[in-house]
Symmetry: C2
Subunit: 161 residues, 2 copies
DNA sequence: GTTCGGTTACTCGGATATGTTCTGTCCGAGTGGTGAAGG
DNA sequence: CCTTCACCACTCGGACAGAACATATCCGAGTAACCGAAC
C-alpha cells in the first residue's frame, strides 16, 4: 500500500499557489521547476486537481493553474482524493460470498465485520485529513518561517523556463 | 493507493484459525479451499504472517498453520503490517530539499508541515486498527451468527484436498 | 492615435512508452506418519 | 506381539512468470498576447 508521490507534489504546489497574488496563474512548468520535478508529470497531477474542481486552468500565454477557491475551503482530503481516487484503500472483495449457501440480498462490504472495522479506520484517517486545509498548512509554515511567502514569490520570478 | 487483497484473505483466515481446536493446525490448501482462493498465493500471505510471528507453521503430514498466540493478542494492525509492510502509505520524498539553500541537519520527513499532517492521519488509522483484535472480530461474528464456529469446523472437515 | 488581423509563442490536455509492484504459479527440501519385515 | 527402518505422501518455503498500476515522456489543439499595417 503506497500513496502516489503525486500527492506530495500536489500539496506543495497548492500551498505555493496559495502564496501568489489572488488570481495569478502559474504554469505547470514553473511549478515543477520550483522543486526540480518532471514538468510533464506534474502537469498530469495538476490536471487531476483541475478535474476535481480544486484548480482552474488557463491556456495560452500568461496562463497556467490557480486555486479554484479560497485555500480555507480546500482540505488535504480533497487533494488526496483528487490524485488517488475516491475509492477506499481496503476494498472488500466479499470472499464470504464464495462459501456455498444463500447470500441473496447480502452486501458483505457493509455487513462483514472485517470490512466494517477497516471502514472505521479509514474514516478516522479521512477525518484527520479533512480537518486540515491548505490555509492551515500555509499558516503553520508562515508562523515558523515568516519569510517563506516572499521567498517563494521571488523564486518563481527568477525561475528560468 | 490500494491495499493488497491478501489482507482480506489473511484476516478471514486468522479468524477461521481462531475457531479451530487450540493447537490444531490447518494447511494452507484447506484455508484456501474454504474461500476458493488460489492456494499457493494464500500460502505466500500466510508465510508473511508466520515471519511476523502471528502464525506458526508445521511441515509434513498433519502440519499447517496455527495462531502463534491468543487471538486477544493479535490486532488487525499486526496482520495489516505483516502483509503490507511497516512503511507508511505516504512517504515524504523531501522535495523541499530540492530548493537551493541550506538543508544541513534538517529532516523534512519530521519537520515538513505536510508530512506531519499525513503522519497524524496515518496514526489515527493505525490506532483504530490496533484497537481491534482477532478475538473482537470473532466475538462480533459469534454474536450475530452463533452457528458460525460449528459451521466453519464442519466445512473444514468436509473439504476435499 | 486607434483599430484590426495575422502571426507567434505559450499552455494545457490527452495519447503513448517504461519501470515497479502486486498477483499468481510452480517445483524442491524437509518432515512425520505408515506399513512391512524381522526378531 | 513389539521394534525397527525404509518408504511415501504431505506441507511449507522460496524461486519463477504474468498482469495491473504508477511513473515518465511526447506531441498536438487551442488560446491569448503581440506586432505591424491600414485607416
Amino acid at each position: 500500500m503506497r500513496m502516489s508521490e503525486g500527492v506530495e507534489w500536489a500539496l506543495h504546489s497548492c500551498i505555493n499557489l496559495a502564496w501568489l497574488e489572488p488570481g495569478e496563474a502559474m504554469p505547470a512548468a514553473k511549478l515543477a521547476g520550483f522543486f526540480s520535478l518532471p514538468a510533464a508529470y506534474l502537469n498530469k497531477q495538476l490536471q487531476a486537481l483541475a478535474r476535481a474542481g480544486i484548480l482552474t486552468s488557463t491556456s495560452g500565454p500568461r496562463g497556467g493553474f490557480r486555486l479554484a477557491r479560497a485555500s480555507e475551503d480546500i482540505t488535504m482530503l480533497d487533494v488526496v482524493t483528487a490524485i488517488e481516487g475516491a475509492e477506499q484503500a481496503f476494498r472488500c472483495e466479499e470472499i464470504l460470498r464464495r462459501i456455498p449457501g444463500d447470500h441473496e440480498g447480502v452486501d458483505y462490504r457493509k455487513t462483514c465485520a472485517i470490512s466494517q472495522s477497516m471502514w472505521r479506520a479509514e474514516m478516522a484517517w479521512r477525518r484527520e485529513l479533512a480537518g486540515q486545509t491548505i490555509a492551515d498548512l500555509k499558516r503553520t509554515v508562515e508562523k515558523r518561517e515568516p519569510a517563506t511567502p516572499g521567498n517563494v514569490r521571488n523564486r518563481f520570478a527568477n525561475l528560468r523556463t
